[in-house]
């Protein structure tokens, strides 16, 4: 039976998303079936608009949408310094030939990593299926995700 890795991507932090996509691409490249379930802040990683935009249904969710932003404005979990640190990290990664977060996401798509969005978190944040990249395979709830993750390894990041 094919090996399987399922990751619950909860954090929208640059460094934690880098961990999610490093594990996901690495596992997919060695033949694992990989599922990533994006919930809450993690949904930032799969937004079509990677910068800041007023995504959401109400004024409140639109404000949240703007503050959260997408992949390009993800903060680091420590020493963010108003968004300066992610820029420094990106330049260090390029300088040292380490894949950047954006490159890892592209590799994940090429390798066929299954990307799923959490229905409940989307509802809270006023996000629609169309707000996400087309590679998002489906919108799921906990029960369906658990079924997908069954008989494999599961991580919460």
């Amino acid at each position: 039976m094919e090996k399987k890795l399922s990751i619950i991507s909860f954090s929208g932090d640059f460094d934690k998303l880098t961990a999610v996509f490093t594990l996901a691409t690495g596992a997919a490249a060695v033949g694992y079936e990989v599922n990533i379930f994006f919930t809450f802040w993690g949904l930032d990683a799969i937004k079509e608009k990677q910068g800041r935009s007023f995504l959401g249904k109400s004024p409140l969710t639109k404000a949240f949408g703007f503050l959260m932003g997408g992949l390009k404005v993800a903060p680091v979990s420590r020493f963010n310094f108003w968004g300066i640190s992610p820029k420094i990290f990106r330049s260090l990664m390029r300088k040292n030939n380490v894949a950047t977060l954006e490159e890892l996401v592209e590799y994940a798509k090429v390798l066929g990593v299954n990307l799923y969005a959490c229905e409940m978190a989307m509802h809270i944040l006023g996000l629609k299926r169309e707000d996400f990249i087309p590679e998002v395979k489906d919108v799921l709830g906990v029960a369906t995700f658990l079924k997908l993750a069954d008989d494999g390894q599961t991580l919460f990041i």
């Binding site: 490093t22 690495g26 490249a29 060695v30 380490v98 090429v110």
Partner: protein, 74 residues
């Protein structure tokens, strides 16, 4: 049957074996991929994971210093 080259000497985990996997997927059965890589993690991982996924590792040879060539057949 064609032979292709891939240089991953400047890459790091997991891109070393991610690139190898993507290149191998593009090939036709019987084609050969010559992978240039460095000793250490890539040299340990690339031949092992290629074998695990059903590819045929024909040869592993040292090119120069820490650089090795791994020949894989699809």
């Amino acid at each position: 049957m064609a032979t292709y080259q891939l240089d991953i000497t400047k890459d790091h985990c997991p891109i070393t074996f991610v690139k190898t996997k993507i290149e191998l997927a593009k090939l036709s059965k019987g084609d050969i991929l010559e992978v240039l890589l460095l000793e250490g993690e890539p040299l340990e991982n690339v031949p092992r994971t290629s074998t695990e996924q059903g590819y045929n590792v024909l040869d592993v040879s040292q090119v120069e210093g820490p650089t090795y060539k791994v020949t894989i057949q699809k």
